[in-house]
Amino acid sequence: MTGETSLLRRGGVFAATLAVTAAFVLFPLVFSNPTTTSIAFFVLIYMIAATAWNVFSGLSGYIALGHAVFFGAGAYTLAVGAEKLNVSAGWTPFALVPLAGIVAGAIAIPFGLISLRTRRHTFVVITIAIFFIFQTLAFNLSFTGGSSGLQTPFPLWTAVGYNQRFYYVALVVLVATVAMAVVVRRSRLGLQLLAIRDDEDRALGLGVRTSRVKLFAFTLSAIPVGMAGAVYAYFLGQIFPQFAFDPLFDITIALMAFFGGLATVVGPLLGALVLESMQQEFTLRFSAGGGIYLIAYGALFLVVILVMPRGVVPTLRDALANARERRAGSPGPGVRVHAPLRSRP
């Protein structure tokens, strides 16, 4: 690739990023219907969680199914914090969102120290087990309010304004999370995580301090999930242990990242957009049959796994690259299966 085309492409990526960001900013102003903005808000929450999850699991290949712990911890940080500090409703409770991120990150350290001693299937099982420990704690500790849950402050905003405010707060967290994902992806840390995914022991033998790298990335990926949990809890107005610590959340964010493509920046965003809006739409339309969306979900999933097992984004990207090469008529050194370090988010 010549410098000129690379510059051109970088310009294209920049323009696309700008256009997408503008669309995100304008969306709730154009479609201000509260039903729509509420769906959009949930999509953003899942975009944050799936992107953050991908920073650790997508790059390292360690499939963590316990990120709901961080989501729940963030939710409870906001609810408990608002209660103990007597925070009044309005903008102030959002000040607890960064704290929720810190709490999630602090929990991720012992969580990671224990679970990251294992690999592959064992790691998956351990993360699930740790998740259930936290869910049980939320049901039984005194400060969580047990099974009756906790109320968060309720701001007196109009339905339209309520959703818009929450949407923009979530958007700020999302932009920060995506920025982190892009930076990690291009960094030395990102390369080391990808090396761990391909052959952890070999990476260790080449001087990669694998334990630290994994723990660091695991902690990084927990922080935005905790922040998303806090915003989510405030939006709902009350939280219960089974919704804050929801096993389906673990699976959902992993599936979103798989759907879009692991280890890509756009993949989890696309996955969250498609799957979460679909789920919300189905739930609204068939309120009686809550199971219908699960069937549609599963069917869509099977199709994606059959047609493009690596996820939508990598498959499309390679198809585009191949088409471009064919058009250029350059035989090239071979079929490019995958070009990980390219700065194409």
Partner: protein, 260 residues
């Protein structure tokens, strides 16, 4: 004691199997030492112990006079001892160039590890230079998983060189590689050796070892049987017995042919 790498009385058992039973070996600075021995004699286990992948039950491993036994592989590598594996282990889904950048040694804080780009211009240039040296620079942008078996061996040699180690342990560098490439690999090893690198080479291809290595050590049942010039080792009756005794006729003839 001028040996760069010293291995003394190393023991390692896996359950009831005594893989190493008091192996001792010294590699002088600037040597291309060879290590041969029948299957199961403990060659790879010895490599694993020296490079930190296995912890010895007993014994001493010293690099430049300092004990490295029991250090983790990343620390051993940081001390200047690199290795390749018998079955090449590369990062299949990374490009060849990215494989090289993984091995770049850079001490830095966590934050800088996140904020800095995966490879600086200087590191990329150095990586390409080494790929040029082993002869696969034109493959730099390909996923490493697309490389042939021999090319993987070359990549493995190249990325170990990224960190500029003093000693290289090569586990069967010529195994399963076509004869042209075998010569290419041997040439690269000689060239690196002239520039000051020390080697310890495990190889089944006796011709390769006898041409390249001085001295040659024979390992049998977890112990060093003898060490000497290739011709001496070749004539040592104990070696012939270890190598040839107990094997079936075809193998005996094949081995004897190779030794001659």
């Amino acid at each position: 004691m001028t040996a760069l790498l010293e291995i003394e009385d190393v023991h390692k058992a896996f359950g009831g199997l005594q893989a190493l039973a008091g192996a001792s070996l010294a590699v002088e600075e600037g040597a291309i030492a060879g290590l041969i021995g029948p299957n199961g004699s403990g060659k790879t286990t010895l490599f694993n112990v020296v490079t930190g992948y296995e912890r010895p039950d007993r014994g001493v491993v010293r690099l430049q006079g300092e004990s490295i036994a029991g250090l983790s592989p990343d620390r051993v590598f940081a001390r200047g001892l690199g290795r390749t594996f018998q079955l090449s282990r590369i990062f299949g889904r990374l490009t060849v160039l990215e494989n090289m950048l993984v091995a770049t040694q850079r001490r830095q804080t966590w934050l800088r590890g996140v904020l800095r780009h995966a490879g600086s211009a200087a590191e990329r240039a150095r990586a390409l230079e080494l790929l040029e040296f082993v002869g696969i620079a034109e493959l730099a942008a390909l996923p490493a998983g697309n490389l042939s078996y021999g090319q993987r061996k070359l990549l493995e040699l190249a990325y170990v060189l990224v960190a500029d180690p003093d000693v290289l342990l090569l586990d069967e560098p010529a195994g399963g590689v076509n004869p042209t490439l075998v010569n290419q690999i041997a040439d690269r090893i000689r060239e690196l050796n002239r520039s000051g690198k020390t080697f310890l080479v495990v190889e089944h291809d006796l011709g390769f070892v006898m041409d390249l290595c001085v001295p040659v050590t024979v390992l049998d049942q977890g112990m060093a049987l003898c060490t000497g010039m290739p011709e001496e080792v070749r004539r040592d009756p104990a070696v012939l017995d270890a190598y040839l005794g107990g094997a079936d006729e075809d193998e005996v003839e094949g081995a004897a042919e190779a030794v001659r």
